[in-house]
């Protein structure tokens, strides 16, 4: 899980063009949207693309994204639960 979380941090920084943010700056349990990184709705869509591109997981309903993308940890847990073998 820790390895996945570390990998996710790097991937997210790249996919979302988070300039000046280092993986160490992001805590696994801090909220991604609203405060902190201040991601918005377009970022949420890019995260959906990231999940499909890097992990083969397709999210059909964008509304599900809110829960799944709450924190890095929740994303990692979702991937672990749904990744195709």
């Amino acid at each position: 899980m820790d390895e996945l979380i570390a990998k996710l941090k790097t991937q997210i920084i790249e996919q979302l063009n988070l300039e000046g943010v280092a993986p160490d700056d992001i805590s696994a349990d801090d909220p991604l949207f609203g405060e902190g990184l201040g991601l918005d709705s377009i970022d949420a869509l890019e995260l959906i693309v990231l999940l499909e591109k890097n992990y083969g997981i397709r999210i059909e309903n964008p509304a599900d994204g809110k829960k799944i993308f709450a924190t890095i940890r929740s994303i990692a847990e979702y991937i672990t639960a749904n990744k195709k073998a």
Binding site: D40, S41, I42, I48, V49
Partner: protein, 402 residues
């Protein structure tokens, strides 16, 4: 003293018909043009419904009267067909000495040709028939082709402000006449369906896999469409002097910025509220004078909420009858303002209000129920037409009976 501006010609081609008469007939018969994609070659065929114009590119070449295809994209042809219908219906005559302009609008320009031939273009040394489309890429190319086909030389321009583009074209056209710069303007817009837009909107996850349901509680997104809508604008004075048919007057318009997000509108609809209220002020009308609103009504979660909130704020408990005609034509992007201007003019000319198809349950956030059956023999004197685009570009037009 600035001149009053009226509409003397209408032209449209869309998923529900090749001309004004066919579109009007479909609107009255509640016959949608949204169905599974047949013409565009896309991976979304069979999955995403859209409002395609029911003709192949070859058929459009014939409809447009083009004998030799020297690089006419689907978009240019659609624009030429509708602009010509408007021009002819306004009684335009060859050799007339009228300062005439074309203000057209589009969001994809020649993208339809480029995406088909992109890989051929970039292959070094490759030549073929596709080469003739290279210059057709930019928006200005279709503007020039449309202007050429009508013999318009005095003024030509293209506007690209996303989904409010052709409403803005009508605004500019009106201004040019009011201030005596031109005597006649063909104004409107055109957009053709492309893989570029389908994939783009799909990546934003705002497309409905079924037919869209504007202003419905269970709406899940929009259907894309294609087509062209143009009107001919002239001064009231000239139109009356020449005994022209006058469909209606363009009495008010406004463009504002929502200043909230690149693509989403603000939940409270600040920009929409501003554009509607400013158009109203310009027209000199009061809220109770509006008989019908042709809403932007794309059926996305965000737009309908935002627009509904703005309407409620502006009209209070007395929101006029309203409907979205996008469940007939799909969201035609840059052409929507022009196509819906034609529908608004038809509404006034025929005292008719077109229904909002597919509506079943009203939204929770406010008490708004659109018109769901065709209403004939209703007094329609003033119509408000909204077109809201990405970038927070909000336009509202008001058309009035003379």
């Amino acid at each position: 003293m600035s001149r009053r501006v009226v509409i003397t010609g209408l032209g449209v081609i869309s998923a529900i018909g090749d001309n004004v008469r066919e579109n009007f007939s479909s609107l009255k018969a509640k016959r949608t043009g949204i169905e599974h994609i047949n013409i565009l070659q896309t991976i979304h065929k069979g999955i995403l419904p859209a409002g395609e114009v029911k003709h192949s590119d070859e058929e459009l070449l014939q409809l447009a009267g083009v004998s030799e295809n020297t690089g006419y994209t689907r978009l240019a042809l659609l624009g030429m067909i509708a602009a010509r219908e408007a021009f002819i219906s306004s009684g335009a005559k060859k050799g007339e000495r009228k300062r005439t302009g074309l203000v057209t609008a589009t969001t994809v320009g020649g993208m339809g040709g480029t995406e088909k031939y992109y890989l051929d273009y970039i292959e070094p040394g490759k030549t073929g028939d596709f080469v003739k489309y290279i210059n057709s890429y930019d928006c200005g190319d279709s503007a020039e082709k449309i202007a050429d086909s009508l013999g318009i030389k005095d003024f030509i321009t293209s506007i690209n402000t996303a989904c409010s583009s052709s409403a803005n074209a009508l605004m500019l056209g009106a201004r040019l006449i009011k201030h005596g710069r031109l005597d006649r303007v063909v104004a409107g817009g055109v957009d053709a369906l492309t893989k570029f837009t389908i994939n783009g909107f799909n990546s934003l996850m705002i497309l409905d896999k079924e037919n869209c349901k504007p202003f419905d509680k269970n709406r899940t997104g929009l259907n894309l469409g294609e087509g062209a809508g143009y009107v001919v604008l002239e001064s009231l004075e000239d139109a009356q002097k020449e005994g022209k048919t006058i469909y209606c007057e363009l009495t008010g318009y406004a463009n504002t910025c929502d200043a909230y997000h690149q693509t989403a509108s603000s939940p409270e609809g600040a920009g929409a509220y501003l554009s509607m209220s400013k158009a109203l002020v310009m027209s000199g009308l009061k809220v109770e004078d509006i008989d019908y609103i042709n809403v932007h009504g794309t059926a996305t979660q965000i737009n309908d909420l935002s627009e509904g909130n703005a309407m409620t704020k502006l009209f209070g408990g007395n929101v006029p009858k309203f409907s979205s005609t996008k469940a007939y034509t799909g969201h035609t992007l840059g052409a929507s303002g022009g196509i819906e201007a034609v529908f608004s003019a038809l509404s006034i000319q025929n005292n008719i209000i077109f229904p909002n198809l597919n509506f079943k349950e009203k939204m929770d956030e406010f008490n708004l129920v659109p018109v769901t059956e065709l209403e004939e023999n209703v007094r329609v004197r003033n119509v408000l037409s909204n077109s809201f685009g990405f970038g927070g570009n909000n336009s509202s037009l008001i058309f009035s009976a003379l």
